[in-house]
């Protein structure tokens, strides 16, 4: 490769202006930390996808489209309810849209060959992208984050903004809430039971139609939330979802199909792997997650924490 990160050696101890880490160890440490932040975001997206896949077997290729919808709804709401209001309301609205989509479309492919759900959601992804283009235009829109959040917290080791910290905090809270819901609430228990054996759950008198509907809505809530968070970091235009969907799939495969902790682990892993790769071999930052995925599939096809025999 022609352009390795050639640098002239740092000019002695860090100057007052640029107290940035200038040696390899600190660079690695930073990227480890940063990778966890990025990974937390991937995990948030992937968890929604995994939730839907585990209970219903539906591979939701439209997940990125819902992410975009969440982001755009937040953009439209900000003038009325402010940044924080949009952060709360937009994912809920997206989840509501998800409930409607499940009721009208997704429901029809349950129990069929997974290929049907794949084709349906693949087409849905295109429809969602074009819908956002039709409503908000192809031109990227300026998404405004409160300036208090976007100033760097520290110029030294952490190279961290309040916004990134917020992203991690929200992701952590939501993930913990998700696991609490799944473990301690009735809905959560039914989802977990349904993941294992939906027929028996239905035989026990649980309305599985409503269960799948709510589960889908929960997954889409996570996608919408990921979208609102992404909009603060990335340019907001109709294709914002498509660039973020692949890491979600890879997280699930690495972590293991059928395992939510696995998905969380997978997300964090590819976040860290990508960040660390960018230190040594930037061109491979995108490729490394696929290399990881291939390795996992070769060595342990069920995924790191997955159950054997699933899919």
């Amino acid at each position: 490769m022609r352009h390795k990160g050639e640098r002239e050696s740092p000019q002695g101890p860090s100057t007052a202006v640029s107290g940035a880490p200038a040696d390899m160890n600190q660079l690695i440490l930073f990227n480890l930390f940063n990778g966890l932040i990025v990974g937390a975001f991937y995990a948030l997206m992937a968890l929604g996808l995994s939730l839907i896949m585990n209970l219903t077997g539906v591979i939701n290729f439209a997940h990125g489209g819902f992410l975009a919808i969440g982001a755009y709804l937040a953009y439209s709401l900000i003038p009325y309810v402010g940044f924080w209001g949009a952060l709360i309301i937009a994912p809920l609205l997206t989840a509501a849209i998800g409930l409607v989509v499940e009721r009208l479309l997704i429901r029809r492919v349950y129990g069929l060959d997974p290929l049907y759900s794949l084709l349906l959601t693949f087409g849905l992804a295109f429809i969602l992208e074009d819908a956002t283009r039709l409503i908000w235009g192809a031109q990227a829109v300026a998404y405004q984050v409160p300036s208090a959040l976007t100033t760097p917290l520290s110029y030294d080791y952490f190279f961290l903004t309040g916004y990134r910290l917020l992203m991690v905090a929200i992701a952590a809270v939501v993930v913990i809430a998700l696991f609490v819901i799944l473990k301690y609430t009735r809905l959560g228990m039914r989802i977990r039971a349904g993941t294992t054996d939906l027929e028996t759950v239905s035989a026990l008198g649980v309305n599985t139609s409503i269960l799948r509907n709510l589960n889908f809505g929960l997954g889409i809530y996570l996608a919408g939330l990921a979208g609102v968070l992404a909009a603060g970091q990335l340019g907001l235009q109709p294709t914002i979802g498509s660039s973020l969907i692949m890491p979600s799939f890879v997280s699930i495969i690495i972590g293991g199909l059928g395992s939510l902790p696995g998905t969380l682990l997978g997300g964090l892993l590819i976040g860290v792997a990508s960040s660390l790769t960018s230190v040594f071999y930037p061109s491979a930052t995108e490729a490394v997650m696929y290399v990881l995925m291939a390795s996992v599939l070769l060595v342990r096809p069920r995924g790191l924490l997955g159950e054997e025999g699933r899919f």
Binding site: E8, L27, E129, A142, F159, E286
Partner: protein, 423 residues
Amino acid sequence: MDRTTRSLAGFGVDRRTLLKSAAIGVAGVASPFVQTARAAETVRIGLDDTFTGTYAALGKNEMIGAQLAVEQINAKGGILGRPVELLIEDSTSGDAGAAVQKATKLIERDHVNFLLGNVNSALAQAMAQVANSHGVLHVVPGGHTDAITGDNCHWNVFRVCNTTAMETAAVASVLIKNFGKKFYYLIPDYAFGHTLHSGMERAAKPLGGISVGADLVPLGTTDFSSYLIKAQAANPDVIIFFFAGDDMINALKQAVQFGLNRKFHLAGAQQELEALLGLPPEARVGTWVFEWYWNQPGVPHVEEFVAKIRQKTGGHVPTARTWFGYASTWTCALAAETAKSLDAVKMARALQDFHLPPEVALMPNGAFYRAGQNQLIPDLFVGNAREKGPKDPEDLFEVTEVVKGSSVAGTLEETGCKMNWPA
């Protein structure tokens, strides 16, 4: 009366309505034949551009410029007295196969006299091959890779937008003079990025420019923090962003969030209004090159152009892309009028050293197609992005210097273009 009651009664369609709709249906099916009879009359321009995907906004603006040009051309009597029709096809933003298929369809089935496109350089090159093998005049509005009017130049392919060599040459001296000699490069890992990098190094070296580091960033990267922290550690005078489209928006947004704009100067070779519009105001910073800008006080015809485009877009100003589409389409009309023929070879010959009239060039020093290269040599607008315009919310760029294209275009030999004309 009778018909209405029967229709309302039970979705019944009566016989007359049925016959009428059948007639319309047959006419619909038969219409290609009808159109063929008309087709001998109209001159057709085929625009094969990106209307979906990541470059959708750019393609759309090129289309708007092209549409305005077609309206004006028809208002003046068309091309050689014949009405002009603009046919529009979506190449998608990255699928060369789709671009080639649409181009082939436009040429073989729709019999277009001219082909326009594409925003994506790789797609533009693929289309150029198709156009060349069919001998159709092809104007590239906004595909930047140097090879289109360089190593891979063709007699029938013309380009309106600048080469990356021209853009970097225009801005290098401004950066070194005002901000310093040490550059850190952030380069998107594809042809566009590579040629911008080599162009900037070539332009900066004689002026004393030094590279303190460079990173090849995969296309479509969403998190730039690891590259930005390396840039900071290298302590340059200027951090150069060679990105385009979404990558540019993401990189700048994050760079400003990390406060890099307060410690270093941010700059690059190519910037577009579409990107600045997509950035939050505080991220609209840096020194850049615009290939055309709408706010040119004192330059004739520009204000009228801006006003007409505002009418078409619901108040939005034209961007460089709008002008690319406009100038490309007018090039087709002017080529035919000058050659007094729609024969591609004659038109291509007529465009050698052809100067665009001021109401098409819309810039202080005019623009012309360099003979032997088919590359438009326009003005380049060097300046700084700003948070908001003093009077207009879309006046986000302050032009500090207009650079004449001829002073940065280099020699014909340097471009590597060797043109082979048909016998």
